[in-house]
């Protein structure tokens, strides 16, 4: 496999792009995020079911399509470019964690339902007052054993926590740190939707007060490390798509907006900023291609490559979205223009599943520096 898209990947990307343009273009996204739902349920059903994105990288034996990370990345770029609200990222991380654990029963129970889009899974790891996305030593505790395990503690920034049917919760139990399945309907579980900067993503604060839970067998630390890699791949994919959308939007504007008798793109002040945006995108995009290639071909290199891609895509997108606002002038600052949605998405995306310090520290660790 190579760094450039296969014909299948091109075709998948094209299908998703067409779906986004027809069913959930930005004016439609505005309506959705203006309402009280985190995402358009019908759009999600179609994405999950017809387009098969919810189970794309889930193995066939668990009801998925068994596709590659590069395939998923191709689809996520298009969703990122369209700022499409959906619980796909939350599902990818939850499924990825389960797949990295060794609990056949839990896999058979949860994965097929995620793959068909019938169940949203959410990963609950971050805790209040701890700046690390995944705490090394969570304060949330698991007590009891067997069928009588309960969790107590608090989790923050739980992506799609309010929409999830099942939560995968990191907690400290008698045998150390583990991952626990908690049903949304469990007693002692309180989920409060957060006020968020980026209206295209929904997150929640979760409190567990003796909530019944089930330990998922397997190495939780290794599974969460895998999840961090998958998060980097997925977020970098969305961000590369969104960066390209910002670049395209601003380039088009620079061709049709005139000042002093010239299209503004003729002025180096604008032209050079767009060239820098292009370069930021091109490098983040190349790093992402290398990361998905590693995921599918050289898993040992995935951690480093995915962290490197994310280390470029998040600040690169933030810069690009900011420049998109700046280069559009006053118009780019109006609510009516889409630029601010990208900017807010970039601000929130920059810290999603670990802020810049977290990512850089993790990359340095993986590099052995």
């Amino acid at each position: 496999m190579s760094l450039i898209f296969t014909d299948d990947q091109k075709s998948l990307a094209e299908t998703v792009r067409r779906f986004v343009a027809q069913r959930t273009p930005l004016p439609k996204v505005r309506e959705v995020i203006g309402g009280d739902q985190a995402y358009d349920q019908e759009v999600w059903s179609r994405l999950a079911g017809d387009l098969g994105l919810a189970g794309l990288t889930i193995p066939e034996e668990y009801g998925g399509a068994g596709a590659t990370q590069a395939d998923l990345s191709a689809a996520l770029r298009e969703l990122g470019a369209g700022l499409v609200p959906s619980p796909l990222l939350a599902c990818v991380l939850t499924a990825g964690a389960l797949l990295a654990l060794d609990d056949e029963e839990a896999k058979r129970e949860v994965l097929p339902r995620i793959a068909e889009g019938a169940l949203v899974g959410a990963l609950a790891v971050s805790e209040p007052g701890n700046r690390r996305w995944i705490p090394a030593e969570p304060e949330t505790t698991a007590t009891g054993s067997g069928d009588a395990v309960t969790l107590s503690g608090a989790k923050v920034a739980v992506l799609n926590g309010a929409e999830a049917g099942v939560l995968l919760v990191q907690a400290r139990g008698p045998q150390g740190v583990g991952l626990y399945l908690v049903e949304r309907s469990a007693g002692g579980l309180t989920v409060t939707k957060d006020e968020v900067v980026d209206p295209t993503r929904s997150s929640a604060t979760v409190t567990l007060d003796g909530a019944p839970a089930r330990l998922v067998a397997g190495d939780a630390v290794a599974a969460l490390d895998r999840v961090a890699d998958l998060a980097n791949l997925a977020i970098a994919s969305e961000q590369c798509g969104a960066m390209l959308a910002c670049l395209t939007m601003t380039t088009e504007y620079a061709k049709v907006r005139y000042a002093f008798g010239q299209p503004i793109g003729a002025y180096q002040g604008v032209k050079h900023k767009l060239a820098d945006m292009y370069t930021l995108w091109a490098l983040a995009d190349a790093a992402l291609r290398e990361a998905t290639r590693a995921a599918d071909e050289e898993p040992a290199k995935l951690g480093t490559a995915a962290a490197a891609a994310r280390t470029l895509s998040s600040p690169g997108y933030l810069t690009s979205a900011k420049e998109t606002m700046l280069l559009h002038g006053g118009i780019g600052f109006t609510w009516e223009h889409d630029a601010h949605f990208f900017y807010k998405n970039a601000i929130a995306g920059n810290v999603l599943a670990g802020d810049a310090d977290y990512q850089q520290d993790r990359l340095a660790d993986k590099l052995g520096v």
């Binding site: 971050s126 700046r131 996305w133 920034a157 957060d194 006020e195 968020v196 900067v197 980026d198 993503r201 997150s203 049709v256 907006r257 005139y258 000042a259 002093f260 008798g261 010239q262 299209p263 003729a266 002025y267 002040g269 604008v270 900011k322 606002m325 700046l326 002038g329 006053g330 118009i331 780019g332 600052f333 109006t334 609510w335 009516e336 630029a339 601010h340 900017y343 807010k344 601000i347 929130a348 920059n350 810290v351 999603l352 670990g354 802020d355 810049a356 310090d357």
Partner: protein
């Protein structure tokens, strides 16, 4: 005690009695219109009655007829107070001085005293959706009628339009000559039925500005400010005032992206001992205090009779870049909670979202860099910019 010192003491005493001390926490106004209008009008009237409105304006138009020294003394004292004069800032800073300089005797007598007395509020109507940085490419037209002019078009980014009584507007009166030469400035009655004001919602979700639509708005022949076809010169003077105002900035302490605010933010988040954060805060202090010092240098040079030319644009540019830089620092201090819009973070998150808008208001960074390059450093003008093409042959934005 000099007369200036006396004046200063009198101002201080009056302010202490009538004005609220500056409240740092309340100083940042997301909507730009937090002060009730009637309170504002009452205060402006009281200010005028006490002899502190129009300090340098001539007495015959309601001013005090004093010098720049008195004005500076008053402003220095007033900086410690929170004067509810927001709605008058534009009228006193832009249309007022322009009418004083270019208006007819009738215009001055009619409009300046009610402005100083707090009876009438003004706005200025320059920007247009299709013009942006190239303000002179405006497309609002004023066509002659038997008794005056008929104005049609759209303006944007108009602060205070919703409560203004009058506005100064620039419109195209001759599309057959070069763009700078076919513009005329008018006084327009904002209560005319053809004027529609619509709030303009910005990225933060607030609406600090308006769009204003002009649909067959008649103005009389004597509404022209200055000469027909010479509106651009008047506009340039006004815009220069605007740039200085924006560049100067408010009190740093009321700025949620200022040094004091970010130090507090870092402390609240337990990062006061983080080496990297401390270093960046030190740099923030250095940049912020240098910007203040630069403003004082320009101020002292002006007072000493040194022409500061377009150097205010460097301050505007530096201020915009600093706000964007501070927004990055604030994000890093907040960390992953930046995604949450909780109440304790609302002010700073709003400021982060608004930072790019602030950089654009009053001229983009690119425009400021052009001004500094050409007018301060004397570099050649951009190639291919043709100032002599008739307006109706120019390429314009859609």
């Amino acid at each position: 005690m000099t007369s200036i010192d006396e004046f200063r003491a009198r101002a201080r005493a009056w302010l202490e009695q009538h004005a609220k001390p500056f409240d740092e926490a309340a100083g940042y106004d997301l909507e730009g219109s937090a002060v009730p209008l009637q309170e504002s009008k009452r205060f402006q009237k009281a200010l005028w009655e006490a002899g502190f409105a129009g300090i340098t304006w001539p007495k015959e138009y309601g001013g005090q007829g004093l010098g720049a020294a008195e004005l500076i003394a008053f402003n220095e004292e007033a900086a410690d107070f929170d004067l509810p004069t927001g709605p008058f800032t534009i009228g006193l800073g832009m249309p007022g001085p322009t009418i004083l300089e270019l208006g007819t005797e009738e215009q001055r007598k009619r409009y300046l005293p009610p402005l100083l007395r707090g009876d009438e509020i003004w706005c200025q109507l320059f920007s247009e959706p299709g013009a942006g940085s190239d303000v002179a490419s405006l497309q609002t037209t004023a066509t002659r009628t038997e008794t005056g002019w008929l104005i049609n078009g759209q303006k944007v980014w108009t602060s205070g339009a919703q409560y203004s009584d009058f506005g100064t507007i620039i419109a195209r009166t001759d599309p057959t000559v070069a763009k700078h030469r076919g513009i005329t400035m008018f006084i327009v009655d904002m209560h005319h039925p053809g004027v529609t004001v619509r709030p303009l919602v910005v990225a933060t979700g607030h609406a600090p500005f308006n769009e204003v639509f002009f649909d067959d708005v008649e103005v009389p022949a004597d509404a022209v400010v200055g000469e027909v076809g010479e509106g651009w010169g008047a506009a340039v003077v006004m815009l220069r005032n605007e740039r200085v105002t924006i560049g100067a900035g408010g009190r740093a302490r009321s700025n949620p992206l200022g040094f004091d605010s970010l130090v507090e933010l870092a402390r609240a988040r337990g990062l006061e001992a983080d080496t990297a954060v401390r270093r960046r805060l030190a740099v923030l202090y250095a940049r912020e205090s240098a910007l203040g010092a630069y403003g004082r240098v320009l101020h002292e040079e002006t007072t000493a009779g040194v022409e500061i030319g377009a150097r205010g644009s460097a301050a505007k540019l530096a201020g915009a870049e600093l706000a964007l830089w501070a927004a990055d620092l604030a994000q890093d201090i907040i960390g992953s909670d930046i995604a949450l819009g909780g109440a304790d973070l609302e002010r700073v998150v709003s400021a982060i979202v608004a930072a790019p808008g602030g950089a654009v208001a009053g001229g983009t960074n690119e425009i400021q860099r052009n001004i500094v390059g050409e007018r301060v450093l004397g570099l050649a003008k951009d190639p291919g910019v043709d100032r002599n093409t008739p307006f109706n042959q120019l390429k314009l934005s859609r």
